[in-house]
């Protein structure tokens, strides 16, 4: 459902992402991890069509993001840690706007469900300026999920959420994966990745260090320690390589 072949992004001579290839099948949740500056956000921005890749092919649900951009974008949602909201539209108006752009005919029912689920029902006439950071995040999530995307990209999805919100967010991600969505989550929270991701992609300096199921990655970097935590695996995958080099 998400196919990436040879994705490369250059800023002048600086290589942000280099020859990245991977596939995320329906129902899989892939964790995108790596140290600061590894190219995680740049990768996600390329995958959802915000910035054009310098080289490579990205396919969303079989649609080429370069040549069939509109159709591909209809199938995806990108939820960032910094919610992008129009400061002059209310919560309800944000949902109406999103529904029109994505042509979601029966959006009212879905919107009500999302507002209930995200505890925003009593804030429907509030502007983003009147919402807390967590509520803004929830509104961005509601807008992102309104058109029932089959591909979801999350960039630090738990930032700003309270414990109940975090629990619900995790449940929501897993529920959507079970319903057949292909999901990529970029996060520094390794316990989150370990809890909800089925697959892992480790990036460093824009290059892929490891890619596979959680078990495969653990095996690859556990060095015969079967109970190695993901944190240890992450350090071995990223720090050791630096020492080697």
């Amino acid at each position: 459902m998400i196919e990436v072949q040879g994705l490369t992004k250059l800023y002048g001579e600086f290589v942000a992402v280099q020859e990245l290839s991977f596939v995320v099948e329906p129902g899989e949740v892939m964790g995108l991890v790596g140290p600061n500056g590894a190219g995680k956000t740049t990768t996600l921005r390329c995958l959802c069509g915000i910035i054009p890749p310098t080289r490579g092919v990205v396919k969303i649900c079989g649609l080429d993001l370069a040549s069939e951009a509109i159709e591909a974008k209809r199938e995806l949602a990108f939820l960032t840690d910094e919610p992008r909201l129009f400061d002059y539209l209310t919560v309800q108006q944000h949902l109406a706007f999103t529904a029109r752009v994505y042509q979601v005919g029966n959006y009212r029912e879905t919107a009500e469900q999302l507002l209930d689920e995200l505890e925003l029902s009593d804030k429907r006439d509030a502007l983003p300026g009147e919402l807390s950071r967590g509520m803004k995040q929830k509104l961005a999530i509601a807008c992102g999920l309104l058109h029932s995307p089959r591909v979801l990209f999350f960039d630090e999805p738990l930032t700003g959420l309270d414990p109940i919100g975090i629990r619900r967010m995790k449940d929501s991600i897993l529920r959507r994966a079970r319903a057949g969505a292909a999901i990529i989550i970029s996060s520094h929270l390794l316990h989150l990745v370990e809890e909800i991701c089925s697959h892992l992609l480790i990036l460093k300096n824009g290059r892929k260090v490891a890619d596979g199921s959680l078990e495969e990655i653990k095996q690859q970097f556990s060095h015969q320690a079967p109970d190695a935590s993901l944190e240890e695996v992450f350090f071995r995958a990223t720090v050791d390589e630096t020492r080697d080099s």
Binding site: I50, D87, L89, A96, F97, A126, G129
Partner: protein, 584 residues
């Protein structure tokens, strides 16, 4: 002293680093060109007169007589008095010393006394004051005079005003802490003011010759009366301290300046002592204000100029947005909401009713013809003014949404739909305002005109303008939007994006480029207009040929606008904001 030196270190290094940053930025051609143009502008407009003296000035040297200088001093003192009075009447809130969020974070928890923070604030305000002094000196020096006297004079005035504003805000807070409400404070000040004004008027009635119609209509007599009123009686004593503040600036020569300086300096020092001796808790209000200011600046830098006008309120949608239909309408809808009350149907109905009613109802009165002619001309001028200013004021398009580029690029819309949706709201609003002004203007002129082309010609001109304006507006709005997408770094809300000589130069270049592109865009329309007009005017008359010629020109402009929207859409599709502003 170590604390003051640390604060001075902060100020000095902040200023120096800002300058270094700007100088380094000049390595980029767009800033270098902007810097050169900005520097030339400042040289030719201001510095040339400083370097060459008044001989280089196009403005005549203003050598005021001693009497005039005295009158200026009186009137300036009166203005200062009114200004000072207002700061004791209007503000409601507690003392708010303006600190940035970083200053609040670093300085408030640091072991710095309240007085130390006030000193820091005063030191920081001097940076702004000195910059303002430099600008004001450059401006006022164009009229002649000694630049050193002007500079020191301005510094004394601005510093005293700054200290008084601060001292007054401390005093208001102390009054609030003592249970004296803003209403009681205002009442006291207003009663005092009424007594002073009544006393002055009573004195004037008793001591000065009565005001006659001749005095009021003759400038010299009026000036003489004002001078007598202000330089004798209660007004003299009332304005005396304010005149002392102004006297150094208005000194005609160095000797007078040296005589005036000690008193003004004494008042400045007295204000300083008043401010630094105040022990008022300002920290909480300042921290809160810093956060709000940071939010406002961020919003304004991102193009939301309304953010500076106060809190955004939820606004009713102009129409119900259904989930099906052309998607660009969603962008049009959201930008109409952003434009707020301007697009409220109720407001439009009221405006149309009032404008049309006035024009039609009163237009029948024969004695009102001159007034209608005047009002009609004013409406016409407002309409012409809106063509120039409207596209700069109505920014509910890509300029407003530049910080939302990431979000907009995710939307499943082709570029042309995004461009069309983003441009529609300002075009529609501007056109509606102009159409209303045209209708009002045409009705008033038609009622008021006895000589000249007559109602038929006015109707022909009005119809032609109505046909042309939507497309003219579209072209005028396309240009700045294309500029934003072509050079996002020029318009981004990034640090220092909108400051400096180079930013001034960039704005000048942008305005000139806009004029050039608009002039070029008008050529095909002018040709189409000319051909149709030439073919028709012999058969149907010169005024009747105008609307068909306008239709031809409008078609040419519409074709250009369509092409422009397609190009703008491609611009947006190709826009790689991270390449312009750096990777995130």
């Amino acid at each position: 002293m170590s604390l003051l030196s640390a604060l001075f270190f902060l100020q000095y290094n902040s200023f120096r680093n800002r300058m270094v940053y700007r100088l380094k930025r000049l390595k980029q051609p767009k800033y270098l060109v902007g810097g050169i143009v900005g520097a030339l502008y400042f040289y030719f407009y201001f510095f040339r007169y400083l370097v060459q003296g008044n001989s280089g000035s196009r403005l005549p040297s203003v050598t005021a007589s001693a009497e005039d200088l005295l009158l200026f001093e009186m009137l300036g003192g009166l203005a200062l008095f009114i200004g000072f009075l207002l700061v004791w009447i209007f503000p409601r809130s507690r003392t708010v010393l303006a600190f940035s969020e970083a200053e609040v974070a670093f300085l408030f928890p640091a072991p710095i006394s309240r007085r130390g923070l006030i000193h820091y604030k005063l030191l920081r305000s001097q940076v702004g004051i000195l910059f303002t002094v430099a600008l004001l000196t450059l401006v006022t020096n164009r009229f002649g005079g000694n630049p050193a006297i002007h500079a020191i004079g301005w510094w004394l005035i601005l510093s005293t005003v700054n200290l008084h504003l601060l001292g007054a805000s401390f005093a208001r807070t102390i009054l609030l802490d003592r249970g004296i409400s803003p209403t009681h404070r205002r009442l006291f000040v207003v009663v005092l003011l009424v007594l002073v004004v009544a006393g002055t008027l009573f004195w004037a009635r008793q001591s000065l010759p009565a005001l006659t119609e001749d005095t009021l209509t003759n400038a010299a007599s009026l000036k003489a009366y004002a001078r007598t009123l202000l330089e004798s009686g209660p007004a003299y004593y009332l304005l005396f301290p304010f005149r002392l503040v102004l006297a150094p600036y208005l000194a005609p020569n160095a000797a007078s300046f040296l005589v005036a300086l000690p008193a003004a300096f004494f008042l400045l020092v007295a204000h300083y002592v008043w401010v630094v001796r105040a022990n008022v808790a300002f920290e909480e209000a300042s921290a809160d204000a810093a956060r709000k200011t940071a939010e406002k600046i961020a919003a304004m830098r991102s193009g939301n100029w309304r953010a500076g006008q106060g809190k955004t309120k939820p606004r009713r949608a102009p129409f119900v947005l259904k989930p099906y239909g052309p998607a660009f309408v969603a962008l049009f809808w959201k930008n109409l909401i952003a434009a707020g009350q301007v697009v409220s149907p109720r407001l439009w109905i009221i405006l149309v009713a009032v404008g049309g009613g006035l024009a039609l109802g009163l237009g029948g009165l024969p004695e009102a013809r001159n007034a209608f002619l005047f009002m009609g001309a004013i409406s016409g001028m407002l309409m012409a003014w809106s063509v120039l200013v409207g596209p700069q004021v109505l920014r509910h398009d890509f300029r407003q949404d530049l910080p939302m580029t990431d979000y907009l690029k995710q939307l499943p819309l082709p570029g042309w739909q995004l461009a069309l949706g983003q441009l529609l709201a300002p075009v529609v609003i501007l056109t509606a305002v102009q159409w209303l002004l045209i209708v009002v203007s045409a009705l008033l002129l038609a009622k008021g005109t006895q000589i000249g082309p007559g109602p038929g010609a006015i109707l022909a001109i009005a119809v032609s303008a109505v046909l042309l304006l939507p497309f003219v507006n579209a072209i005028l709005l396309l240009i700045p939007n294309a500029a934003v997408l072509a050079f996002p770094a020029w318009f981004s809300g990034g640090k220092e994006a909108q400051q400096g000589v180079e930013a001034t130069g960039q704005r000048i270049i942008a305005v000139l480029a806009q004029l050039l592109v608009f002039s070029l865009a008008l050529i095909p329309a002018a040709v189409a207009f000319g051909i149709v007009y030439f073919l028709l005017h012999r058969f149907v008359g010169q005024f009747a040929a105008l609307p068909p010629a306008a239709v031809a020109a409008a078609l040419a402009l519409a074709a250009e606008a369509t092409l422009g929207i397609l190009i703008l859409g491609r611009f947006f599709e190709k826009l790689d904001i991270s390449a312009e502003l750096g990777p995130s």
